[in-house]
C-alpha cells in the first residue's frame, strides 16, 4: 500500500548505483534484441532518471498513473525512451519482461514515447523541441488548480537547436514557474557529430538559460550524489524555473560506444559481440556481477 502523498521509498546511494547498473544492462540488451533504437542516448540519461524515480525525488503511483497530484516527467528527447521504459518497469508501471518487446508490433513500448499506448508516459515525443512547452503547460495547470506537483523535463543537448526550446525557455521565465525543472542531458554528441561542431554557438549552455532568468546548475550527470543534491536544491528555488545542465557521456566507459568518435553510436545498437564486451565493461566499472547482486 503506497502512501497517499505519492512519496516513494528512497533508495540508498549504493542501491541507486546498483539500480543504474541493472537498468543500463537492460537498455543495452533490449535495444540489441530489438535491432534498432538509441542505446547511447539512453545510457547518458539513466543516472538522472534513476535518481528522479528511486532517489525519493518524484512522487508517483504506478498503479494510478493519472493521479492528479503526481509529479510529471516528460522525456523531450524521445529517442532516449529505452531508459525511461527500463525505469518505469523497475518502478512497477509494467512487467519488466515486457522490456524485451521494445519496438515490436502491438507492444506499448514503441520506438518513441506514445502516451496513449503506455500509462505513465506524460507526453508523446520524438519530434524534438516540444517537451519543454508541454511541461510549461503542466506547470501552469498546477498553479491554476492549486496543486503542488512538480514538472521535470529532460532535453537533449542537440535538441536545443530547435527554436521551440527557446520559445518555451522565455515563456517559462515570464510566468515564473518555479515548479518546472529542466534537465539538459549534455552528452556532447548529436546525430552527425559533436554538438559543438554541429552548432558551435550553442555551448556553453548554462549561460544561455541564465540570461533568460532561469536558476541554473551544472553537475556531473553520472554522479548520483550530485544529481540528488541538484534536485534538492531546485526544490528550494522560488519564482523561477530551473535548469540542470548534466554533463554526461554516451556509453560512458564502454568501448563500443567510446571507440566511435563521430557520434558515439547515435541511433545504433550493439551487435551480439559488442553487447558482450559492453556488458562486461559495465560490470567491471560498477564492480557488480550480473546474477550475483
Amino acid at each position: 500500500m503506497m502512501a497517499e502523498n505519492g512519496n516513494r521509498p528512497r533508495r540508498s546511494l549504493d542501491e541507486l548505483r546498483q539500480t543504474s547498473w541493472r537498468l543500463s544492462r537492460q537498455i543495452m540488451k533490449m535495444t540489441t534484441d530489438a535491432g534498432s533504437g538509441h542505446p547511447s542516448s539512453s545510457l547518458s540519461a539513466i543516472d538522472t532518471l534513476t535518481a528522479l524515480y528511486f532517489g525519493g525525488i518524484m512522487r508517483y503511483h504506478p498503479e494510478r498513473p493519472q493521479w492528479p497530484d503526481r509529479d510529471r516527467f516528460i522525456l523531450s528527447k524521445g529517442h532516449g525512451v529505452p531508459a525511461l521504459y527500463a525505469v518505469m518497469a523497475e518502478a512497477g508501471y509494467f512487467d519488466p519482461q515486457r522490456l524485451m518487446t521494445l519496438r515490436e508490433l502491438n507492444s506499448p513500448l514503441e520506438g518513441h514515447p506514445n502516451m496513449r499506448a503506455l500509462p505513465g508516459l506524460e507526453a508523446s515525443t520524438g519530434s524534438l523541441g516540444q517537451g519543454l512547452s508541454i511541461g510549461l503547460g503542466h506547470a501552469l495547470a498546477a498553479r491554476l488548480d492549486g496543486r503542488d506537483y512538480r514538472v521535470y523535463v529532460m532535453l537533449g543537448d542537440g535538441e536545443a537547436d530547435e527554436g521551440q526550446v527557446w520559445e518555451a525557455t522565455m515563456a517559462a521565465s515570464k510566468f515564473d514557474v518555479d515548479n518546472l525543472t529542466a534537465i539538459l542531458d549534455y552528452n556532447q554528441y548529436q546525430q552527425t557529430g559533436p554538438v559543438a561542431e554541429v552548432m558551435p554557438s550553442l555551448p556553453p549552455f548554462a549561460d544561455k538559460w541564465r540570461v533568460f532568468g532561469w536558476h541554473v546548475l551544472e553537475i556531473d550527470g553520472h554522479d548520483l550524489q550530485a544529481i540528488l543534491e541538484a534536485f534538492e536544491e531546485v526544490r528550494q528555488v522560488r519564482d523561477r524555473p530551473q535548469m540542470i545542465v548534466a554533463h554526461t557521456l554516451k556509453g560512458k566507459g564502454l568501448s563500443p560506444f567510446e571507440d566511435n568518435d563521430v557520434n558515439r553510436m547515435h541511433g545504433e545498437t550493439l551487435d551480439e559481440e559488442q553487447l558482450e564486451v559492453a556488458l562486461s565493461e559495465l560490470d567491471a566499472r560498477y564492480g557488480y556481477v550480473a546474477g550475483v547482486k
Binding site: 507526453a123 515525443t125 523541441g129 510549461l136 501552469l140 495547470a141 491554476l144 520559445e167
Partner: protein, 329 residues
C-alpha cells in the same frame, strides 16, 4: 463586400468577434477554460477573455510552436485549453506541434485560427490562410469547424468546448452576412440544409454559404432549383447528407474560401465517389496565392462570387443532363 445583399441578408459582426464574445461568456461559466495567445489577442478576439480572466490567459509572445505546446500541457493536466492565432501562422508555423502535441496524443486542445481566406483583404497573402482546411483535416483525431456567420460561430464555439478532443475552429476577419437566428443550434458533423431543390446541390462552408444562397436564388430565376447545404463541419463530414444530395439532385458544386484542392471540395468529392458518383464542380481559390486588395475585389478576381457558383452549377447540371441523355440513347 456585397455577398448576400441582393437577398436582403444583413451584415453582422465578423465571425472572429462572435467567437470572442462566446469565449468570454463560456469563460464565466467554466473556470477550467484557459487561453494561450500568440500576442494577437486583439486580432483573434481572445483579448476580452484575457481582460476578464487574466489569471487564465497566457500570452506566450509571437511563438506559435510554444503556443500549441503550452496548450497541450495544460490540456494534459485537465484544463480546457484554447490556443489562438492567425490561422496561417497557427497551421503553417506550428503544424508539427499540432500533429505531435495535440493530434497524435488526442489531447483536448481547441485551436482557433482567425484571418482565414482571402477576405483578409489589404494585408495580403502572407496573412491569408488558404491551406488550413487541408492541413487540419489531414490530421487524424481532429474535428474541423468552419461556421458561416456570427450566430453559428457563437454556437460552434460552445459546441467546440463541449466536444472532447482536438478541434479547429476557423474564423474570419470581415463582417459577414447573417444567415442564422440568434441561439441557433450547432451540431458537429451534421450539415444544415438551408434550401431544398432537385436539380443541383451547392455545398459550402464559411463565407461561401451566403454566396451559395445568393447563387441558388439566381439559379431559381432561371428555373434551376438548387439545394444548399452548410457543411460547417468539414471533418467529420456529413456523408449521409452528401449521399442523399447526390441521389436526389444528381450533381454537386462545392464552394469554399480556401484552395480549391484538398479542402471541402476534395473531401466531398471523396465521399461522392465512394458512395454515389455524380458530376461535380469546385469553387475555391485556384492553385495560386492571392494579393492585396479589398475583400470584394479579391473575391471577384479569384472567382469566389455567387456568379462563379451559378456558372459552376450550370456546368455540373449540363454534365448531368448529358450523361442522362447518353444513358438513354
Amino acid at each position: 463586400m456585397d455577398i448576400g445583399k441582393r437577398l436582403g441578408l444583413e451584415y453582422g459582426p465578423p465571425t472572429r468577434n462572435a467567437f470572442g464574445e462566446a469565449l468570454l461568456e463560456l469563460g464565466r461559466e467554466n473556470h477550467d477554460i484557459v487561453v494561450v495567445d500568440g500576442d494577437v489577442g486583439n486580432s483573434t478576439r481572445t483579448q476580452s477573455f484575457g481582460d476578464a480572466f487574466p489569471e487564465r490567459f497566457f500570452n506566450v509572445g509571437i511563438a506559435e510552436s510554444n503556443l500549441v505546446g503550452t496548450a497541450s500541457g495544460l490540456a494534459a493536466s485537465g484544463k480546457l485549453a484554447l490556443a489562438a492565432s492567425f490561422a496561417c501562422f497557427l497551421f503553417c508555423n506550428a503544424y508539427d506541434q499540432i500533429r505531435m502535441s495535440v493530434a497524435f496524443p488526442r489531447l483536448n486542445v481547441k485551436l482557433v485560427g482567425s484571418h482565414s481566406g482571402i477576405s483578409v483583404g489589404e494585408d495580403g497573402p502572407s496573412q491569408m490562410a488558404i491551406e488550413d482546411i487541408a492541413l487540419s483535416t489531414s490530421l487524424p483525431n481532429f474535428t474541423v469547424l468552419v461556421p458561416a456567420d456570427a450566430p453559428s460561430t457563437r454556437a460552434a464555439t460552445r459546441a467546440m468546448f463541449a466536444h472532447e478532443g482536438p478541434v479547429y475552429l476557423r474564423t474570419g476577419r470581415p463582417k459577414v452576412p447573417i444567415i442564422y437566428p440568434d441561439g441557433v443550434d450547432f451540431q458537429i458533423g451534421k450539415a444544415n440544409q438551408l434550401r431544398d431543390g432537385r436539380d443541383v446541390t451547392l455545398i459550402a462552408c464559411g463565407l461561401m454559404v451566403a454566396a451559395a444562397l445568393e447563387a441558388a436564388h439566381d439559379l431559381s430565376q432561371e428555373g434551376i432549383e438548387a439545394r444548399v447545404l452548410d457543411m460547417h463541419t468539414v471533418k467529420p463530414l456529413d456523408e449521409e447528407a452528401i449521399e442523399l444530395a447526390a441521389r436526389e439532385t444528381g450533381c454537386i458544386v462545392t464552394a469554399e474560401e480556401h484552395l480549391v484542392q484538398q479542402g471541402l471540395g476534395g473531401a466531398v468529392a471523396q465521399a461522392v465517389v465512394a458512395r454515389y458518383p455524380v458530376p461535380m464542380r469546385f469553387v475555391g481559390v485556384p492553385d495560386v496565392y492571392a494579393e492585396s486588395g479589398k475583400p470584394q475585389q479579391l473575391l471577384e478576381k479569384y472567382g469566389l462570387m455567387p456568379a462563379d457558383i451559378t456558372k459552376a452549377a450550370r456546368d455540373a447540371l449540363a454534365r448531368k443532363e448529358a450523361q442522362h441523355a447518353g444513358s438513354l440513347s
